[in-house]
Amino acid sequence: MNAAILAVVVLLPVLAGALIPFIPFKNRLWMMVYIEAAVLLVTILMFVTLFNQPQEEFVLFRFAGNLSLSFKLDGLGSVFAGLVAFLWPLATLYSFEYMKHEGHEKYFFMFYTMTYGITLGIALAEDIVTMYCFYEALSIVTLPLVIHTLTREAILAGRTYVYYMLGGAAFGFIGLAFVLIYGTTSNFVPGGVLDFAKIGDHRNMILFTYVMCFFGFSIKTAIWPFCSWLPKAGVAPTPVTALLHAVAVVKAGAFAAMRVTYYSFGADFLRGTWAQGVVMAAVIITIVYGCSRAVKETHMKRRLAWSTVSNLSYVLFGVVLMSPLGLAGAMSHMVFHAFIKISAFFCVGAVIYKTGREYVHQLNGFGYRMPKVFVVFTISGLALMGVPGLAGFVSKWNLVKAALDAGTGAAYLGIAALLVSALLTAIYMMTIVVRAFFPGKDFDFSTISDVEDPNWMMILPLTVFTIAIIYFGVCSGWFTDMLEQISSVM
């Protein structure tokens, strides 16, 4: 199984997406079938490739000196690619239903499917230059999705979004330049590529570059000083906020941070240095800051967006521990949080789609009128809080195990931050659930008589995600082993 399939997997959705506005579909159904077929085909191809793991790399294009766009499948890449490939068809199905009454769908699905290919490109990138190119392409392709509704605040949100993204890429660029100069090769090699003969005395310079590069790449993961774009991007339609700002775009940022930390600069070079201290501090602040803002936020999507900000810093916390266990913990939370958050966002999306209500205090008594949606929401809430028996607890457990294994004071502080944020998560999730199921004594149900559950296209993804959350909660042993085996290669 040669590696050409990697390039096919990346370029097919980009091509399919780009063609959508130009193909004259007879009616909306045919368009839906075309898009869903394309996405499913890519997912199947992806899982076939994951299944028999082609080892050799595939050079797509060599454009300057030793710089080239090339793909290679390794452990970390296959986890992220697998996650994206699993979620995308379901999210597309959901967005068919959601986009029914939103405007100009063709452009929406064009960029939506192209993002799929580009995210796979990031996952399968073999060296830092390819990843950087797809990383930048991702910011540009997702911009039209953010400003899809073209209202005034959508434009403002889009503008902030693009400033942060390109700003981050600019700082990440410095890291890229450093790796190209000081690294033995631009490829991703587990354990780092820096050759210390060349670095010689100025270690601090490299550490400073690493900090700049980490902040550059993790701006997409909404790290504390630069996290205001994520809640603002909540103005986009729900499939965008759900898939992109809870799963694809932000996880791509975390994935890039993992690649840079473990595969370019090398974890043991960075462990114990002041750079790790600075980065750890920012991550811990984000964990607590994200949750505290979520508690005060009354707009549902923004509340979940702030919760994503804090949960992403869980992933970064794992990355920043600079140990193989830390990486395994980060990957596990990346996957589980993706399932939990996307189901929460889809529930909120269903509420908005059916009733158009967006604020928490308008949800009284919805539990009875939309039982399926709110049961799923409760399960994802419990999972997010970290109730044992659901996926959230397992990933928290892996992260904490790694932190304990690291054993530094900052790691313990991180654990405390994790628990404080879990408590705050409990607060902002449970208030919604209690309000939905127990509206209070004198609440007359006539006011919400028109509310009822959406049709199967929305319910199917929700059920699949809930089953996944419970399944991973109940038996996640094999998955954690796999992750540890991937990261042990460090």
Binding site: K296, T298, H299, Y359, V360, H361, Y428, T431
Partner: protein, 321 residues
Amino acid sequence: MSRKISEESYRKTRSFRLHQWFTGEKDLFLDQVEMKPQEPFTESKKVKKKREKEKQKMLDQIYNLERNRKTGPFQTLYRVVSVLFCICMVSLFLVAVSYLPPLGDAGNPANNEVPQRYIENGLQETGAVNIVTGMILDYRAFDTLGESHVLFIATCAVLILLRLDGNKKKLQEEEASDSAHEPENDVILQTVAKIVVPPIMIFGIYVILGGHLGPGGGFSGGAIIGAGLILYLNAFGFEKTERFFTAKTYKWMCFGALGCYCLAKSYSFFTGANHIESIIPLGTPGAILSSGLILILNICVGIVVAGTMYTFYVMFRKGGF
């Protein structure tokens, strides 16, 4: 021992809040959870109008010229800084001059083999008695070619700015204003011009033609002829000069001179670079028709310079020939 305070003031004290927390009546955290969303920002019409008025007032403030003139510190600061900059520049130059090779000393680095060859076999190679003309028009001919084109492009620029022949009305009005100040047929000037203009012209031609034999050349001769023309125009007004010097003549004259100059020089460059023997005879030194192309080039340059001088003056005066 503690004063008995009223119920309301007690409610505001810190100990009461602590008691509330301790007994659990009121929790400092729970009630804030369900805030209502803020209303969108709306601006009443009156406020909007006031803001517009203020903005306009501010704009006038910025652009009022008198106040700008007296902008106090900024102007003086700019002036002081510039003066300081010039002073330190002068001192820098003086220091540099003090380190330059001594003036007039024969051993200066400038007197190396380059001027030596010019002087020793300049006459044989270019045929020009005046070594400087030989250098300008033969050794370093490319600069002088560029030179004449600088003149040409300057005239074009001036034409762009000042030529008015586009709209007739403006031309008449310009003509009227031009002659308004000049006295008609100023007798003294005309008689002096009648006496002086011919010798000027002849002397100019002499200087141009004698360029390769003695001091002079196309540039200085052309300037003299140009000055003569301007004097003639001043004295006899535009009707007289239009008879022999119109825009068309100028255009063709200028193109002819430059074209011939360019072609002649490119011939000599081409033959030089490809080491082909150029067929132009150098003639006997000292004779008028000696030193190959230099004479022709001098004439062309003279024409260009004279035309330019005259055009500048005419453009400044009337914007039309």
